[in-house]
């Protein structure tokens, strides 16, 4: 590595190696620079490996250095422990841009990226919208979910995009949404490209309308028994109901028993509904 001045390098590419996502704070202020940025040269082009938004007077030049050494320098500079999935995707893109196979780089394996399917998924994350990428970068999703996401058609990706903005979903809800969109993609109108809760629920409901209708009726009736909770623990494979309540005195107990006695018709109604749905 040697120190060179800016006037020795006329052709500096600051964008290609910028794999960081989203841009980090230190990239915005020149004052944050402790050392001169590093450069790596290939075919007469000098690629800046760090401090990507900075033009400096001096640079460290990595002499006699291969692509993987340059990439390692860049990644090591920012730390390899907490790369997010979009950064990995960017690094993959970078390697492939220069014609290299990432199987030669153990960094990806450390992040569980092994096998053609995962590499393909990682490659396709690159084309997602910035909003989705930002969400994925800060959350932690399995490759299984990412794989489904990248296989969604364009209009469903747009729906997902507007879903993020509208609902700011939890990881669990986002994952459910991706799976439902994937499973029902043929049933969702192709001209639907923004998140329409009612329209989507209508489609998703068709997956199990019988169960949904039953549970909805049950919820209404069972609510009448409060504070006694009524549950079936086996998804109604059997007609056994479990009733539970909390007490902290004999008086409480007596009070609840009286309430239950007064509301015994609720239990009859529950079994009537179960019978209607062929569950008793």
């Amino acid at each position: 590595m040697k120190l060179i001045t800016a006037d020795q390098t006329t052709n500096i590419d600051r964008a290609t190696f910028n794999w960081i996502f989203p841009d980090r704070k230190e990239e915005t202020g020149a004052d944050d620079i402790t050392y001169p940025p590093a450069l790596w040269e290939k075919k007469g082009i000098y690629y800046q490996l760090n401090y990507f938004s900075h033009c400096a007077d001096e640079y460290f030049f990595l002499e006699n250095c291969g692509f993987f050494d340059a990439l390692s320098f860049s990644v090591d500079f920012y730390g390899t422990k907490n790369l997010n999935i979009i950064e990995l995707s960017n690094l993959l893109f970078l390697a492939e841009h220069f014609g290299y196979d990432i199987s030669d780089l153990d960094l990806f394996e450390r992040y569980g990226v092994a096998g053609d399917r995962k590499v393909k998924t990682l490659r396709e994350l690159k084309d997602l919208s910035e909003d989705i990428k930002e969400y994925l970068a800060v959350k932690n999703f399995s490759f299984k979910t990412l794989n489904l996401l990248t296989r969604l058609p364009e209009n469903l990706i747009s729906i997902l995009d507007s879903y993020l903005l509208t609902e700011n979903p939890s990881v669990s809800d986002f994952k459910k949404m991706v799976t439902k969109l994937f499973d029902m993609k043929e049933e969702i109108p192709q001209d639907l490209a923004t998140y329409d809760k009612n329209e989507l629920e209508k489609v998703f409901l068709s997956k199990n309308i019988t169960q949904e209708n039953f549970l909805s009726e049950m919820k209404d009736i069972a609510g009448e028994m409060k504070p006694v909770k009524i549950k079936n623990l086996d998804n109604f494979e059997t007609d056994i109901l479990e009733l539970s309540f909390k007490i902290n005195s004999p008086e409480d107990f007596e009070k609840i028993l009286n309430q239950m006695f007064e509301k015994k018709k609720v239990i009859k109604n529950i079994y009537r509904v179960m019978e209607k749905y062929d569950l008793h």
Binding site: N147, T179, F182, E186, K207, N208, F214, T238, D239, D278
Partner: protein
């Protein structure tokens, strides 16, 4: 392509392939064979071939026995559990037929049993190549206590029409043609299966049908009604030994495989619930609707044929058929073969 492990070089299969002029390659191990459904790998590895069908708790099991001589299937059904159960795609065939024969004879000495090869493979898909019917049928012909079932989604029955049909049952899994097309890849079409069943029935075989798995879809009622009507038109009731009916069920990981391999599958258009044995099934309400519908349609044509549910809850039996068949040994006593053998 056919590959034969060198340890199986003296097996009967080598003679069969040589006589038929089929090309094959000797290999040192399975690792040398590309793991493709198009490949057959013959091996001499030890196995317990005959065993009771693995049942799960809380759902009624018919005490069926299976012969796991072949592991893997050239067909590629969306819902197939082998995708999760086997760690290979190729069709692995065990060559130790003498041991298989011993195990079947040994089983026959213990009582009356129904036995079949359709658990880990399709019984007839490769019968023109492996000629296993030529092995099994003569063995079974000498055993009064065993009813042997070839269970298939093929129309590959040619070799069966040269044998003694005593105690042999040939059965077909059936689904509407639109389900066959979408979910049962590389199998014979519905009409071909029914034609093959008619041929076997005419020859003198008892035939069976498995409406398993029933798959719910928009045209469920019309789809299954049409299948049953076609059956009735082609197959005489007295040839039908039994009909099983059961809805799609699976271990939870299967749907991920379906999403990976068969996107757009009808299986992804429904939700399922975890049931008492840990498997996923349609919500019981829908399940009973499907089963009731198919039972009713069959009964319109064939009032006497023995119907049973595979792995269903006792309450479903009581609701739809009016009785609980009980656990394994009690359940099997309901089968026609058991009555004949007493």
């Amino acid at each position: 392509m056919i590959y034969i492990d060198k340890s199986a070089r003296n097996s009967r299969f080598v003679d069969i392939f040589e006589n038929d002029g089929r090309k094959f390659t000797f290999v040192n191990s399975m690792e040398e064979v590309e793991d493709s459904k198009n490949n057959i790998y013959i091996t001499s590895g030890y196995n317990t071939f005959v065993h009771r069908c693995p049942a799960t708790t809380n759902y009624r099991c018919c005490n069926y026995y299976v012969v796991d001589l072949v592991e893997g299937c050239p067909f590629d059904c969306t819902y197939c559990i082998l995708q999760e159960y086997l760690n290979h795609n190729l069709v692995k065939v065990h060559s130790d037929l003498d041991r298989v024969k011993e195990e079947i004879i040994s089983l026959s000495k213990k009582g009356v049993f129904r036995l079949g090869t359709g658990e880990l493979s399709d019984s007839l898909a490769y019968d023109h190549i492996l000629k296993l019917s030529d092995f099994f049928i003569p063995v079974i012909s000498d055993l009064e206590n065993i009813q042997f079932e070839f269970k298939t989604k093929s129309a590959n029955v040619g070799r069966l029409l040269n044998h003694n049909s005593e105690n042999i049952l040939v059965s077909w899994s059936l689904n509407p043609q639109e389900i066959v097309t979408a979910e049962e890849h590389y199998t014979a079409g519905l009409d071909e299966r029914i034609e093959a069943a008619a041929k076997c029935a005419e020859y003198g075989y008892k035939v069976g049908f498995h409406f398993d798995p029933l798959i719910y879809y928009n045209d469920f009622e019309k789809g299954y009604s049409d299948v049953i009507k076609k059956l009735f038109e082609k197959i005489p009731e007295q040839s039908v030994e039994y009909i099983s009916i059961s809805t799609f069920r699976f271990i939870p990981g299967l749907l991920d495989t379906v999403r990976e391999k068969f996107e757009g599958s009808q299986l992804l258009k429904s939700d399922y619930v975890r049931t008492l044995d840990g498997k996923m099934r349609y919500f019981k309400s829908l399940r009973q609707y499907m089963l009731r519908y198919v039972v009713k349609r069959i009964r319109e044509y064939w009032p006497q044929v023995f119907l049973y549910f595979c792995m269903e809850h006792e309450s479903v039996w009581k609701n739809l058929l009016g009785y609980d068949p009980g656990e394994r040994e009690n359940f099997e006593k309901n089968f026609p073969f058991y009555h004949k053998s007493l």
